[in-house]
C-alpha cells in the first residue's frame, strides 16, 4: 500500500516544477502552463487527503471540483488577457509587460 506522504511529495514536486516554470519562463503562455501544473498539484493534495483522512465524507472531492472550476476560469481569462496584450503590443514576453514600473 502507498503511504500518503508519497502522494504529497509528488504533489510538492509538481508544484515546485510549476513554480519554476512560472518564475523562469519568458513566454506568458508558458507561465500559464506552469500555473496549471501548480493547480494540478493542489488538486492531487486535496484528493489524497480526502482519500486518506475522510474517504466517507465527500467534501474533499467537492473541493477538488471547485478548484477545477476555478482553474478553468483562470485559464480562460488568462489566455484572453494574453491574446489581447498580444494584439496591442504584439508580444507575449512577460518581461516586456512592464508598464507599471517607475
Amino acid at each position: 500500500m502507498i503511504p500518503l506522504s508519497w502522494y504529497l511529495t509528488l504533489a510538492a514536486a509538481l508544484f515546485c516544477i510549476g513554480l519554476y516554470g512560472v518564475l523562469a519562463r519568458r513566454n506568458a503562455v508558458a507561465i500559464l502552463m506552469g500555473v496549471e501544473l501548480m493547480l494540478n498539484a493542489v488538486i492531487i493534495n486535496l484528493v489524497a487527503f480526502w482519500r486518506y483522512n475522510q474517504p466517507t465524507v465527500i467534501g474533499g472531492q467537492v473541493f477538488a471540483i471547485i478548484v477545477f472550476a476555478v482553474a478553468a476560469a483562470e485559464a480562460a481569462v488568462g489566455l484572453a488577457l494574453i491574446i489581447s496584450i498580444y494584439r496591442r503590443r504584439s508580444s507575449v514576453v512577460a518581461e516586456d509587460m512592464n508598464l507599471m514600473k517607475w
Partner: protein, 168 residues
C-alpha cells in the same frame, strides 16, 4: 521492506508525471511544451484513478486535456511566430528561480516525510460518484459553493469574451 505492485505502478506514474512536468518547463518549443503538459495531465489523471477518485480522474481528462490544453495550444498558435526557438526561453532570474523552487521542494519534502500521516483506510467507495452528485446539489451540503462556482464560470466566460474581442 518489500515493494509491492501498486507501489511500483505509483512510482512509474509519478516519475513519468514529473518527467513530463519538467519537460513542460524546459522545452524550447512551446507546442512541445504544451504536448508534454498534456501527458503530464494524463499522469495526474492516473494518480487520481489510483486514489479511487474515478470521477475526478475523468474530469481531469475532460477538462484539462479536452478544454484547457486545447485552449493553451490555440492561444499559442494565435500568438505564434513572436518568439522562435532560438532566442532564450528563460528570463534573467531563472537561476534564482531554480534555487527557490528546489529549496521549496526540499523544505516541503522534509516536512512531509517528517510528519506521521494516517494510513490508508480500506473502505468501499461504491457509488461515491452518485454521492458526489447529490452532495453538489443538496441544500444542506455544497449547493452554495457549487452555484458560486457556476457564477464564477459565467463571469469568466463573459470577461474572457469581452477582453479578447476584437472591437473595443
Amino acid at each position: 521492506m518489500s515493494i509491492t505492485l501498486p507501489q511500483i505502478i505509483f512510482l512509474v506514474v509519478a516519475i513519468g508525471t514529473l518527467f513530463t512536468g519538467v519537460m513542460v518547463v524546459v522545452a524550447r518549443n512551446l507546442v512541445h511544451a504544451a504536448l508534454w503538459l498534456i501527458l503530464s495531465f494524463f499522469g495526474v489523471a492516473v494518480v487520481f484513478a489510483m486514489l479511487e477518485a474515478g470521477f475526478i480522474a475523468v474530469v481531469q481528462v475532460t477538462l484539462y486535456i479536452g478544454a484547457i490544453a486545447i485552449l493553451i495550444i490555440f492561444a499559442m498558435m494565435l500568438t505564434r511566430k513572436v518568439m522562435n526557438d532560438t532566442e532564450p526561453q528563460t528570463n534573467s532570474q531563472w537561476v534564482l528561480s531554480l534555487v527557490v523552487a528546489a529549496a521549496a521542494f526540499i523544505g516541503l519534502a522534509g516536512l512531509l516525510n517528517a510528519t506521521a500521516w494516517s494510513p490508508l483506510q480500506a473502505v468501499s467507495l461504491e457509488g461515491s460518484v452518485a454521492q458526489l452528485g447529490r452532495a453538489l446539489v443538496e441544500p444542506n451540503q455544497y449547493v452554495l459553493p457549487f452555484e458560486v462556482a457556476s457564477v464564477l464560470l459565467i463571469i469568466a466566460l463573459i470577461g474572457a469574451v469581452a477582453i479578447a474581442s476584437e472591437k473595443n
